[in-house]
Each structure stands twice: as C-alpha cells, then as structure tokens.
Symmetry: C2
Subunit: 255 residues, 2 copies
C-alpha cells in the first residue's frame, strides 16, 4: 500500500479535481467519501478504482477484496480532497455509470419526473426519498445539475446505487406514460387541481415536481392528466420541494 | 439617506459581524436579507432598526414608512455582508425577539417537539413545514443551533414571523402535554411502534422528531405514549429528518 503524504502529489491533485464536472468527465470517474456511502457501494457490487484511507486498519472491517488500488493518506490530504468540514478519513474513486437514456418498454409502478429542480441538496434528498418510497425510477428533466456533483452524492446517501436515474426530455416521457395509460400527475395549484389525498393509490403513476422558484413549465403542465396540490392550513406560502415531494409520494404509494 | 461605499465603514463591519451569535447577542439584533423575508417582516408588523439597499428606488415598492435608519450601499458591500452567493441587494436589521420560555396553560392543536435537531438547514425547513401544516408551536429541545443563525433564517423563509418558537426542556413539555391528556407521539422504530397512518387525525397532539444521526434520546423515548414509524417499501435506510417530519405532520393534521 502506497503512503501519500503531500497535497502536491499528482494523485492527490487528481482526486481534488474530481470535485469538478470537467475532471469527472475527463477521467470517467467520481469520488465518494464516508463509511455509509462506501458500504452502500460495496453492497451494490460497484467496481472500485481507488480507495484512500487515513487508518489502514479501518479496511479490516470492510471485508475488502476488490481489485482497487489502495492508498494510505494523511489527515491533511483527507481534509484537502474532502467536500465536507469533518471528513471521515475514507474515500473511494468509482467509474461513472452510464445514465439510462432510453425509456423502458414497460412503465409500471411509481415514477418521479423532475422538471428543472436545481439545488443539488434538494435533488439528492428527493432521490433518497423516492428510493425510500419504493419509486421505480427518477427522470431528471431540464436540470443542469450533474448527478455526480459532490453535494448531490452526499445528500442521496447511496440511493443512486439502488434506484434507476434517467436523463431525459419530459415531453417524450409523458407521451410514453400516456401511451401506456399511466396517469401523469402535475403538482401546481390551478383551477382544476385536486388535493393530493383525493386520487387514491394508483398501481402505476408518474408524478412531476417543478423547479424551486418557478414550479413546472407551462409546456409540461399542459400535458398532465391531473394537477395535485397540498392544502396548507398554516401561514407559510409554500413548502420546500423535497418536503412536498415526500408528502405526495408517500401518500400516493400503497403502504 | 447616508450612502456607504467602504467595507471598512464601522456600520458595515457591525453588519458583517451579525453573522456571529456573539455579536447578535451583544447588539440584541439580527440581519435578514432578500425581498421575501423583508416583505414577511413588514407584513408581520416587525420593528426595523436599519434598512440597507443597493438601489433606493427599490424602496418605493415597499410602502416604506418605518422609523428605521436607511442606508444606500454599494453592490460590493452587499456582497460583503451577505450570507449568500447572489445577494438581492436589500437587507434589514431587526431586534431579537425574546423566545417564548413558559409553557402555555392551554396546549391545544398540533405541536412539534424537536429533540436535538442540529443542522440549521433541516431545522429551518422543519419550522417552515410546521408553519405550512398549521402546527401551533415548535419546541426546540437540546439544540445548540441559535434561532438567528443566517442559514436557519434563510431556510425558515419567514416562518419565524408566523409560528411560536420555544426553547425548552422536552421532559417538562411532555409532562405538561400528559397532564392535559394530549397524546405524545415519538418517531422511532421499536417493537411497539405503529405506522404513522394508523393513529388518525387527533385534534390535539405532540409529535417528537429526533436528531439526524442518533434519533430520539432514550430518556425522551421512554415518556412517549406511542411511537410512530414510516413504512418504507424501497431500499433507502432512512429519510431526511425534514422530509420525515413533513410526511408525518401532514398525515396527522385534519385536512
């Protein structure tokens, strides 16, 4: 096991650069950190390219038998390459997964379509919540957030290892749901909107959540079968998009 | 209207320092920024000590007639005193409100008790959600987060102007709820826990949410009447605490 001690080492510089999308694309890799994420990646059978650890004895607990290159690093290097204030001292470099691009032939179960959700923390929390709710897949429409953004990776808490993520054009997805008679629910208060508690627990459905500030686009809104809203008894004008997504998803799914 | 142009001005230095709890306590004041918050503060009849604006014409829209001191500032000063990357160019300094300390005699409606929730973003989102749900009051137990932390203020989106916030000892609060025959719900998966959908919509209730990593303390847990859990069909092990709080609150309240 190689022991790296300087932030000036070329490997260390490369790891640091993985915080940028440019470098992730160039090296076809991304970085994860912390025990929970590394454990989830192992359980999901992910390939590891590199593992970096401050205390090599920690690896004993991991039942570690991958073909990854393993490096011991100093706490200073850990702080340097970490995206958090309190790094746990373990990191791994994984190859990028190819996004699912094609719309599956069978659109069964619950689906979540995101119309230009922008904040990486919100996006990650929504994907984690969709994973917990038993949603089949999440489609990221119009978002400029890279799925391997460190803040997004952190807030997903490993859910990208479980749930299918798609990059796609929402119009094409909505058309596909309609062709299979799957109801498409928007979330936007308008004259025809129903309370989210009034549509029961459909076996198959597509739920669309809109952008934090602007909601759903008019074009997408025009194509929904039904708009849902969350009645609010209190004084707040709106809910955080991740909270709203959680409330509606856990209502729609059969539990 | 005084026009300030230098970050070295003593006023500007003081505003910058309001990002720290020490300075907020010392000057008995805190800072808010952005149109939405300033608008909410006006609507709630809050007293303004100072208003700082990049473009004084913006004040015309505010129907501004308070006795606050008003300052024109440069975009550079706005960037300097702001807690965000993209400041909107308007700020105000408000006096600290005294926390409610005493437990009210009548504990009616829904109440949310937070057992050591730590992250300011989570805490703010939870308070905003409680406000939307029509919760009567939120009790912060054991938390070290200052209510005037800039990140907390930002994520509450003005809900601290609407909803009563209490600092308190959760044991004393739970005792008060019990004396008034108000059911106290914990949220922790244990042998006696029920699904959150199985307790109906009680007129009065207290709901306790625990710490992000450690959940509720054993001491608090022992005093609940009933523990609730959220059944999860998917693979994620847990939910973000703000999302979980939203799902349970919107289920419990009558809508």
């Amino acid at each position: 096991m190689e022991f790296l001690t300087s932030n000036q080492n070329q490997r260390v510089k490369d790891w640091k650069k993985l915080q940028t999308k440019k470098q992730r694309t160039r090296s076809n890799a991304y970085i994860i950190e912390g025990w929970h994420l590394i454990d989830e990646a192992f359980k999901s059978g992910k390939q590891f390219k590199e593992v970096m650890v401050v205390d090599p004895e920690d690896l004993d607990d991991l039942n570690f038998n991958s073909e990854a290159e393993v490096f011991q690093i100093t706490p200073e290097i850990a702080a340097h390459i970490s995206d958090t204030k309190t790094p746990q001292g373990i990191f791994a470099v994984l190859p990028l997964d190819s996004y699912h691009e094609d719309i599956p032939d069978q659109l069964t179960g619950g689906w979540l379509l995101l119309d230009n959700v922008q904040d990486p923390g919100n996006l990650g929390t929504i994907i984690r919540t969709a994973d917990a709710a038993g949603i089949n897949g999440v489609v990221l429409g119009g978002s400029s957030v890279d799925i391997y953004n460190p803040k997004l990776i952190r807030s997903m808490q490993g859910s990208h290892f479980h749930i299918s993520l798609y990059n796609g054009n929402l119009n094409e997805w909505i058309l596909a749901f309609k062709q299979q008679q799957v109801p498409v629910f928007g979330t936007e208060l308008n004259e025809e909107a129903k309370s989210y508690k009034e549509v029961g627990h459909p076996e198959d459905f597509a739920l669309i959540m809109g952008n934090e500030g602007n909601g759903m686009s008019d074009e997408t809104l025009a194509q929904t079968d039904q708009n849902l809203y969350i009645p609010m008894k209190g004084n707040a004008e709106s809910l955080n998009v991740a909270v709203a997504a959680g409330i509606v998803m856990f209502q729609l799914i059969k539990s």
